[in-house]
Chain length 340, copies 2
Amino acid sequence: MKIEEIIEKMRQSGLESLFVLKPENIAYVTGFKPSSASVLIITDEPLLFSTKLDMETAKTQSCVPVEEFKSIKKLKKKFKENLKGNMGIENSMTIKTYKEMCEDFKTIPNEIIERLRMSKSKSEIKNIKGAIKIAEDSFIKADPSQFSGSEDELAAKLEYNMRKAGSVQTPFETIVASGPRSSLPHASSSSQKLETPLIIDWGALYQNYASDITRSIIKNKKEEEILSILLDAQKEAIKLIKPGIKAAHVDNVVRGVIEEYGYGEYFIHSTGHGVGLEVHEKPSLSAKSDEKLEKGMVVTVEPGIYLEGKIGLRVEDMVLIKNRAKILTNLPRKSFFNNA
Amino acid sequence: MKIEEIIEKMRQSGLESLFVLKPENIAYVTGFKPSSASVLIITDEPLLFSTKLDMETAKTQSCVPVEEFKSIKKLKKKFKENLKGNMGIENSMTIKTYKEMCEDFKTIPNEIIERLRMSKSKSEIKNIKGAIKIAEDSFIKADPSQFSGSEDELAAKLEYNMRKAGSVQTPFETIVASGPRSSLPHASSSSQKLETPLIIDWGALYQNYASDITRSIIKNKKEEEILSILLDAQKEAIKLIKPGIKAAHVDNVVRGVIEEYGYGEYFIHSTGHGVGLEVHEKPSLSAKSDEKLEKGMVVTVEPGIYLEGKIGLRVEDMVLIKNRAKILTNLPRKSFFNNA
């Protein structure tokens, strides 16, 4: 059914074939996520080309027939005679691959699969919920507000719990940043002992699907005041989210709330992003986004305030868009540091 | 000095400027590895453009002046007037970025930085050794041959030890595959209890540099026989490695040894790859490689034999090329499963 939908979209875009290289796109279409170079060619008779490395797994998991991928050159030769019409290629294709593969074809960059991926199916939502559960259970078990140790040790503990629960890799580098380091939105953890405030931004993988959550653990009045602003801004966004709303409008409202409190210049990233097979995918909830929210999208809402060299706080939850926003994450948003 | 070397290579290639987007290449040149979209422009006066998200860290770590990256469009405008000559771009640039950024420039794809990255400096070798130490210490501590638990649990333990020691993320998905699953060269770990044989392929990060090691833990005669073949093949390769040798020749010799024993068709991947800021980088030790080995390269030597659905074994060590190959990894290559 998924493939028929893609073929229908290809027809509408005047594409005879679609060349798919991005592992997440291949996973979306075939059910198999390659670990090495693979090419999926979608026509009326889709074919997946995988290396020997992946062959055993590909044959078990892919809903599309699998052949061995030997080289771009051989693949090109194989299809040059048969594919005469427009070939769809991905925006993420590298110029190297483009030169090696596409010179003899009429190619059109497109985002058919990325756009279909925006609205999640029931089974995709189940997987995302699975990834949220692993991440949240791990957080509760690690109990950061009581944790006495270093940033590295807390990150290790969080990841250990997720790994044991079946999350095969972190979808992004776990952030554990405390004290003045909390003002670095993408800080790696360090060997420094935990201080206040403490930002934790982490996620798990479940069946190739990601989760992405942030909690800030606070101690004093100033931190509580800033966290309240973020919770206000997040609440406004979540109230607003529904199908048909412009993604940029959500960002605008969140930014507006933070500006009202006088912290506008310290909110230095966008409001959120889609989450699925990739931890950052369409749509983008940013000022520049031209996307509209749709039913079935799963997005983060993550306002943050960063006072350079002093303190930073962020709160990030994941919501599913139904008739309104349904919050998928369950952890309390406010908790106090209690380790000293 | 590094930048002067790059500028010299640019001159030789007729390039007036070099646009660098790949985080590992930016890390190599500036000392700062971006966590969000960044552009490094190398001319006589190099400039790094980073987002607000990374600004605080970039300013501390980059040896090149940093300005704020607002959009590709603004960047293009800024440089259109000044850069009239050939612009070098990376092979890994996506066609989307190419269209957005490069249409008004005369661009030439090149691999200047990737080629310089092949031969490691003293400080790079120190970092790689650091990444090896973290991975090996973790292995010794987890003691896989005595471990009684699931594949997931062993992977969790290995990663926990590395994380605590400061490895901020695994450079690739840790492989723990046992019993018949060992024949999948890129298997994710599973909740299955450890069986024999057991393949573990893991690595750590230290100061952005990676390690990559594989050990197979065996029990019976058949497994010991296959492991001996791999150790033979690996030894031959390591004996052979020195500056000036073709990378493809090393692959050829390893393949020859395995073929002699009648297992040629079961060695289904290449012999090795460079390791540094990326876990897979140039040179490739494969049949198709056109590269020659040089002093300062750090490569893996990793023969494997995979009997589908039955057993798989692989041994992978890292060597530094000096006048001969110097083995950087220290763990014993043969150990017996002893958990039952």
